[in-house]
Subunit: 394 residues, 2 copies
C-alpha cells in the first residue's frame, strides 16, 4: 500500500424502515432546528417527507422545508437556502433525496456557518472552510455517493461552470439508507445511477500507481457487484436484493476506499461535467457518453491496466494485453448500451455537436489550456478536444 | 444487503514517516495534555517514543509517559492508568503500540472521563458509557485491529476473566500507521498478527445469513491478500509491500466492513479468550490452536459456506461441498503450520490439558452453561468442552 489518508466518519444506518430513525439520528448528532432540503415532489408523493417530519416531531425537533433542488444543483438555489437557514436559525441540514439534494445541503451548511463568505468563493477555493453545520441524509437514489463522500458539486449558472469541492467538511454525520425507497424510480434514473457508481470507482481504478492490492481488489469486487446487480435493478427497480447491493456499493464507491494509495484520474467526470454544465445532461449520461472515447484514447498509456480490468471485472481471459484491454472496453460499452445509456455525444439530446461547441467545452475543461486534466494520461486542451471529437458520433 | 449500522470514524494516516504527524493529529483532535500508553521498552529502543514526543513538543502539547502494558492487558494496570491520567489532568490518550496498548488507552479514557464508575462495571455492562476521552494511536504491529474497531479487551486477573467491550466510544480519533515500524518485529509476533487478522474476518464470514454480496466479496479479497502477504511478511518482516497490505487489512478486518449485514459468530475468539485468560497464551496462538477443532465441529451446519470459503480464498475447485469444505479447513491449518503457529492445545506451552482444565474453560466460556456462545452453530457448555477435547492433541 502506498501512503494515504482515509477518513469516512459518516454513520450509515442501512436497511428497511430506517427512515423512521431520522429523528433519533438528528438528535444524536446535535440537531434541534432542521432545514430539510429536497428536490421535486416525489418525496412528498411517496409519503417519505411526512414520515421523516413525523420522526423529527417525535423527538421535539423543529424543522422547515426547503424544496425544489434541480439535478446539477444550482449555486443560486443554495444561496437562497443559506438565507432561509439563517432566518430559521437552523443548526442542522437534512437532505432527503440524492446527490443534488445532498450537495445542496452541504453547500447551505457551509454558507450558513460562514455567512460572511461568498459561497462560490468557497467552491473555487478562494475562501477556506474552518467550520460548517452538521448535515444528515435520507437517501432516495443510489448514484452520487455524496452521502459518504468528501465532495459536492455546484453549478454556477451565471457563468456556465460546474465545480466540485472536496473537503472533510463535506462528510455528513449520518446517512439513513433504505433501499426500498428506490423501488419506484424510473428505469432511466436507475441506469444513470449505475453508471455513476461504476465511474466513481473506474475514475480511481485507472492509475499507474502500483502496489495497492487491497484497494484494487475492493475496487474489482465492487465493479463486479455493481455490474451484476445494476442489470437486475434496471430490469426491476423493486428487486430489493439488487437495490440494496447497489445502494451500499454507491456509498463505498465514492467514500475513498476504492482508490486509497493511488493517484486518481477522474477525467471522465471532468469531461462529463462540461457536458452537464452546457447542455444540462444527467450526470450518469454525461459519463457514459464520453467514457469509450476517453478509454480508447488513454489505454495505450498502460494497456496492462485495462487488461487486468477486463479479466477481473468482465472475466475476459485473453492473454494479449492490448486485445484484452480492447475487449474490456467493448464489454463496458455494451453494458452501458444494455442499460439504454448514451455511449456517444450523438446519443444525447440534440445529437452531434459542432466543432465550435466541442472547442468551447475543451477550453472550459482546461481553463483555456492553463491547466491539465487527469493523471492516467495528462490531458491538455487538445487532448480533451480530441476525446470529445471521437465521442461525437451517433 | 441485510440491515446494518456502520460507523468507523477513525482518521487513518497511513504510510512512511507518518509517526512524525502525531503532534499535528493530537492537536487537530483537541488534545493538549496527553497520557502516552505503551508496552515494553521496544518503542523506546527503536526511538519511536522520542519521535512521537518530539512531535508533541513541536505543537506545544504536554505529555506524560505511562509504560508497561502487558499482552492480554490487565484491568489493574488500566485502573492505575486512570489514577495517573486524573493526576496529570490528561485530556487525551495516545497509545503507541499494538492491541494491548490501544485497549489499555481506551480503558483509561473511559475511566478518566467517568471517575466515579468502576472500570470493570463498565466492561461487564453494569455501567453504561455516555462519554469518554479522545484516543489516538501510533500503531506498531498489524494484528488486533483495535485502531479502527469498536472493541477493547481487558483481563481481570483477580478472577481470571478476559472480557471484551464493544461501544462506539471505543472508536479512536486517529491512527497513525507506518508499516515500516513492523519491520523489526520477531517472526512469532508477525505470525500471531496474521492469524488474528484472518480470524477477525473469518469469525464474521462463517454465518448463515445470505444476501450480503459486497460484504462477502470484501471479506474474501481481504482473506486472500492476508494469506499471500502474511506468508511474505513472515519470511521477511522488512518487506514493505507485504507489511503495508497486512497493516491496512488488519484495520479493515476489524472495523466492521467485512461482516456488515450478517449475524457474526466469533466462537474461535471466545474459545481462545479462555485459553489466554487461563494460560496467558498469545492471542493469535490461542485462535489457531482451537480453529480446526471448531471448524470441523460446526462445518456440518452448512458445508456449502465452508466450500465457498475454500474456493474463493484457497482456489479449491472441488465440486462436492463436503470435500471442498474439508480441503479448505485443511488448507487453513497447513497455512497456520507454515507460520509455525500452534494448531492444537498440545502445541501450546505446557502441552495437552487435563479433562478438568478443559471443563473449567468450558464452564467459564458459558457461565456454567447459563449462556451460549456463537451463532453459526450455537454452542452450549458441552459443545465447547467437546471442541476443546478435539483440539487437545499433539
Amino acid at each position: 500500500m502506498q501512503n494515504f489518508v482515509y477518513y469516512a466518519p459518516t454513520e450509515v444506518v442501512f436497511g428497511k424502515g430506517t427512515e423512521e430513525k431520522t429523528g433519533e439520528e438528528v438528535k444524536k448528532w446535535g440537531g434541534s432546528r432542521v432545514l430539510i432540503v429536497y428536490g421535486g415532489g416525489s418525496v412528498k408523493r411517496s409519503g417519505l417527507l411526512q414520515k421523516v417530519e413525523a420522526s423529527l416531531d417525535k423527538e421535539g425537533i423543529a424543522w422547515m422545508e426547503y424544496g425544489g433542488v434541480k439535478p446539477n444543483p444550482r449555486l443560486a438555489f443554495a444561496q437562497e437556502g443559506v438565507r432561509k437557514a439563517l432566518e430559521f436559525q437552523a443548526d442542522f441540514l437534512l437532505a432527503a433525496g440524492g446527490g443534488s439534494a445532498i450537495d445542496t445541503a452541504k453547500a447551505i451548511a457551509h454558507g450558513t456557518a460562514n455567512p460572511k463568505m461568498d459561497l462560490w468563493d468557497i467552491w473555487t477555493g478562494k475562501e477556506a472552510l474552518t467550520k460548517s453545520l452538521p448535515v444528515g441524509v435520507v437517501l432516495t437514489i443510489s448514484a452520487a455517493g455524496s452521502e459518504m463522500s468528501d465532495s459536492a458539486v455546484l453549478t454556477n449558472e451565471a457563468i456556465g461552470r460546474k465545480q466540485g469541492l472536496s473537503t472533510p467538511y463535506n462528510r455528513v454525520k449520518f446517512a439513513v439508507m433504505n433501499p426500498e425507497l428506490t423501488a419506484t424510480l424510473p428505469k432511466y434514473q436507475v441506469a444513470c445511477g449505475v453508471v455513476d457508481i461504476l465511474m466513481h470507482t473506474l475514475d480511481r481504478y485507472f492509475t499507474h500507481t502500483k502496489g495497492n492490492e487491497m484497494t484494487d481488489e475492493i475496487a474489482e469486487a465492487l465493479l463486479r457487484i455493481v455490474v451484476r446487480n445494476g442489470r437486475r435493478a434496471y430490469e426491476d427497480p423493486a428487486d430489493y436484493a439488487a437495490a440494496s447491493e447497489l445502494m451500499w456499493c454507491g456509498s463505498l464507491s465514492h467514500n475513498g476506499l476504492t482508490g486509497l494509495g493511488a493517484e486518481t484520474d477522474f477525467a471522465p467526470h471532468k469531461l462529463g461535467h462540461e457536458l452537464s454544465a452546457k447542455y444540462d445532461v444527467a450526470h450518469g449520461a454525461s459519463l457514459s457518453a464520453v467514457w469509450e472515447a476517453w478509454a480508447r484514447y488513454v489505454c495505450p498509456e498502460e494497456p496492462e491496466r485495462f487488461a487486468r480490468y477486463a479479466k477481473k471485472v468482465w472475466g475476459i481471459e485473453e492473454q494479449d494485453p492490448v486485445k484484452a484491454a480492447d475487449a474490456g472496453i467493448q464489454a463496458t460499452v455494451e453494458y452501458f448500451r444494455s442499460l439504454d445509456m448514451p455511449v456517444s455525444l450523438g446519443d444525447l439530446e440534440g445529437g452531434v455537436k459542432t466543432e465550435e461547441e466541442l472547442l468551447d467545452m475543451a477550453k472550459r475543461c482546461t481553463g483555456n489550456d492553463t491547466f491539465t486534466v487527469a493523471k492516467f494520461k495528462v490531458l491538455h486542451q487538445n487532448d480533451v478536444l480530441e476525446i470529445y471529437r471521437r465521442a461525437n458520433h451517433r
